[in-house]
Subunit: 214 residues, 2 copies
DNA sequence: GCCGCGACTAAGCGCCCGCTCACCTTCGGC
DNA sequence: GCCGAAGGTGAGCGGGCGCTTAGTCGCGGC
């Protein structure tokens, strides 16, 4: 145990679905290593070492190093999609749903920065087939946000010049959190989530009617 | 031979300061390759090949592969800083200066996406000393944007909850353009620049004065 | 005309990569 | 108590990596 669980921290539970235990430990070690150094700069020996196993053990549970990245990407994107769906399809105004979607999506990127970084930035290292599969998931994420913004425009809650462009900008803003978060930043994931929800509401022309100070 | 100039397109002129000619061709080839596949996945043989030279030729002009990345990063960040400085220190209201800074910064990331991608995303592949040098340049970029936002808040043009957080979000939004731009997007760099300037003004509470506030 | 010198190449060194293979446990079923 | 499968190991293969070296080539100076 040790290193893997320590660094991954509370994220570890997210990988509960992965069995057996050794396969999960390897996956968590890979997430860490990929996040720290990038996919190509990570060696299979490093991954196995972090999981406390010999280099050869990796190939009992995974066919190749790329399969590890593929599995991580799929699980991560599925989780991200689930987060966005929950927020965007709940009851409430478009304003509430967008704020909820952004704050929870950002919390996920900030809190699980290790995972999010791999999921969002190492996609190009996948082969064509795997990448296509993951891109389909990502497009579904885009659609959820797009839907909420369309709803808000239709209901008159939002005032947006370019719906597609604004959707892209909102997603881009959230995703990039995985790049910069926790580099000596004095914010908690909750704080960033709240700040970003406010910023995004302003972007869609639904800023607080009466700006409240804290 | 051709490949380098073709892909780099109009960006090529930006490397005019690099001499002699062979060194410049190698640098442009490296920018391309790093942008496409990432630093670690790029081989020195690939770089030399794109420049139409033998693998050994690279080492006449550069000590290591890392020196190429270092040089690219420094030139790119210097250019980015120059763009932000020009906009943020010109005459005009904070509103005008921020809109100018964002639109020109975004135009640079979109138009020179090849270069910007390397500059913004391959930084972690540098050694500690080189990275520290580049991070200092980046901090200066942050300061320029921060200054304009502080000015706007002081003059009452802007209404911002968290100045530091908003500064970071604005920069993050602009930088992430390098990640997604031109993946089948129907926008020109100018269009994205204009859209983003509008979005950022909304974020700082200085959206278009006229439009319908409900 | 030949020389020196910087630009460039062909060949290849030593290393470490992703991955494999022959073998060694451990353990539930009978 | 013995057996076979599942899970793990140590040693190492083929190959491609970053980088070096010995030597070739083109060319301005005298």
């Amino acid at each position: 145990m040790g290193t893997a669980e320590e660094t991954a921290g509370g994220e570890a539970q997210a990988w509960g679905e992965v069995t057996p235990d050794a396969a999960r430990r390897l996956l968590i070690a890979a997430v860490e290593a990929f996040a720290e150094r990038g996919y190509h700069a990570t060696t299979t020996r490093d991954i196995a070492g972090r999981a406390g196993m010999s280099p050869a053990a990796l190939y009992i549970h995974y066919k190749t190093k790329e399969e590890l990245l593929h599995r991580i990407s799929r699980i991560g994107h599925t989780k991200a999609l689930e987060i966005l769906r929950t927020a965007s399809r709940r009851e409430g105004s478009a304003r509430e749903r967008l704020a909820d979607a952004v704050s929870s999506f950002v919390r996920w990127h900030a809190g699980g920065r290790t995972t999010a970084r791999v999921v969002q930035y190492e996609l190009d290292s996948l082969g064509p087939d795997a990448r296509a599969e993951i891109l389909a998931l990502r497009r579904q994420c885009d659609d959820e946000v797009h839907g909420v913004i369309v709803d808000g425009v239709a209901s008159g809650e939002f005032d947006v010049l370019d719906v597609k462009g604004t959707t892209l900008a909102v997603l881009s803003l959230c995703i990039d959190v995985a790049r910069w978060f926790n580099v000596d930043g004095p914010w908690t994931p909750d704080e960033v989530g709240a700040l970003y929800a406010d910023l995004v509401l302003r972007m869609v022309g639904a800023g607080e009617p009466a700006p409240a100070q804290k």
